[in-house]
Amino acid sequence: MNPRLAKALVNGLLIGFAVVSLAPLLWMLSVSFMAKGEATVFPPPLLPSTLTLANYRELFERNGLGRYLFNSALIASAVTLLSLAFNLAAGYAFAKLKFRGRENLFKTLLGALVIPGQVAMIPLFLLMKSLGLVNNYGGVIVPAMAGIFGIFLVRQYARSIPDELLEAARIDGAGEGRIFVRIVLPLLKPIVVTLAIFTFLASWNDFMWPLIVLADQSNYTLPVALASLSREHVMDNELMMAGSVVTIAPVLLLFLVMQRYYIEGLLLGSVKG
């Protein structure tokens, strides 16, 4: 093929892909600024005739979106912080500390990755109920405080820490806790960032478990609230698009700022072989 034609074809196809990927998101943004009913006509308008924040105002003032935003932010932050602490300690130990049964334990954990999380959900609901954690932030946070995938990711990364470094610190008389905090954690910084973004995004976007365990509306996270709103306001397209913007924007921005770390983590997690 003629090289100029080939170049036009490759770039043209990429532009096509980008348009298909971004168009729904851009249109969502545009419709969210339209006046009520403006998007419910034929043909559908691409841009608002006048920009209005009325949909956002209605969501925050009358539909309690601020509350859901707060719930989502609180839950995702708590899950991220707590699971980081537990996964980092465990991942490092599986990589660098020798203890009896380490290999078998790790193999069991890896094997359990094939079990879909939903298998656990029904008994987990009963367990949460008996612990008084149904319909309460704890019901979402507590089961997510540690995860096999996070431990695996940390272990993969921590394996590159040289043993001599740890040995030298031990000879100097440093305790294991001190070694972990002073020497290991600074070395694990890139994977800490990666895992933090991964966890935050996953927790923010999670739907099925919060839907099950959060019964009371005032405790809903954004996705659960949005699903419930969209069932009530089937025809309020402008309002629903504004709700989608509020739900998507925080995670999309976080991704855009930190995408290098996110993509590295994705690749590190998928080359388990």
């Binding site: 770039n11 196809l13 500390l97 298998v119 029904i122 008994p123 540690a146």
Partner: protein, 293 residues
């Protein structure tokens, strides 16, 4: 403190959490699936009875369970190959030496992956609206009359598949792109000297070299697609005519709408066994091909 004691101390908090909130519930789900745990047992455990394989036998005689299984297989069998084909196409384009602005395109194509399923499902429901949707409007220009995407039982699942492909292809694209970049360049150079065309290079170098990555991607995607839930929950509520009721949607309704928790646990376990079986088959199939090569 000995290194062995430190090791246990470091792993035990995480293991305790995973043990209590994951392993224990999985085991309990198995036990629960042999009981008739329902609303009455929820109120008073004295009402709980052991029913052996009763739930499983019952499910296999429930038409709605078979329908949900059929719908899920439809989603997996059409959705997974389509999704991987699109991911591969995008990865090949991004890997091409002719492509400009690679960083921008990579980010743009990946963006749907990090969005919230519920929120983008709401957008798509509007996008594919029969009367006001941009999709039908655009199709009107090439003379296609409006399609009732989410309201017609024949179109609902294809629409959900399109949505899932749009939402997910970027993930596999990144993994496949890394696989492509790991293929030694001298293989292509040798092929070029021999005058091999792009398609011949794709068939004889790229695809064979990419095979281990493809197998991994296929297994992850298949397992993920079997867990279809949020899309039908938001876009169609399992309808129309139950055409988008997936196995997990069925489990959710059995468990948390009708409170048949024993039966719902049996559904969850059957889905797990199904995923396990399909994964094992794919591994076996994939590895056998490797030996032959």
């Amino acid at each position: 403190m000995s290194s062995s004691r430190a090791g246990w101390l470091f792993v035990s908090p995480a293991l305790l959490i995973i043990g209590v909130f994951f392993f224990l519930p999985v085991l309990a789900a198995l036990l629960l699936s042999f009981t008739d745990f329902d609303l009455y047992a929820l109120a008073n455990l004295d009402n709980l009875r052991f029913v052996g394989l009763g739930n499983y036998i019952d499910l296999l005689q429930t038409p709605m369970f078979w329908k949900s299984l059929r719908n899920t297989f439809y989603f997996v069998i059409v959705g997974v190959p389509l999704s991987i084909a699109v991911s591969l196409g995008a990865a090949l384009l991004l890997d091409s030496k002719l492509a400009r602005f690679k960083g921008f395109f990579r980010t743009a194509l990946f963006a749907p992956v990090v969005t919230t399923v519920v929120a983008v499902a709401v957008i798509w429901r509007y996008f594919f609206h029969t009367r006001y949707g941009l999709v039908n409007y655009s199709l009107g220009f090439i003379g296609i009359s409006p399609i009732d995407w989410l309201g017609d039982a024949d179109w609902s699942m294809p629409t959900i598949i399109l949505f899932a492909v749009w939402k997910n292809f970027g993930y596999n694209m990144i993994i496949l792109l890394a696989g492509l970049q790991a293929i030694p360049q001298d293989l292509y150079e040798a092929a070029r000297i021999d005058g091999a065309s792009f398609w011949r290079q794709l068939r004889h170098i790229t695809l064979p070299m990419l095979k281990p990555t493809m197998l991994l991607v296929a297994i992850i995607t298949t397992s993920g697609y079997f867990q279809l839930f949020a899309e039908p929950y938001v876009m169609t509520r399992g309808g129309p005519l139950q055409s988008t009721t997936s196995v997990l949607y069925f489990m959710f309704e059995e468990g948390f709408k009708w409170w048949n928790l024993g039966r719902a646990s049996a559904v969850a376990f059957l889905l797990f066994l199904l995923i396990l079986g399909v994964t094992a088959l794919m591994l076996r199939f994939g590895r056998r091909g490797e030996d032959g090569a």
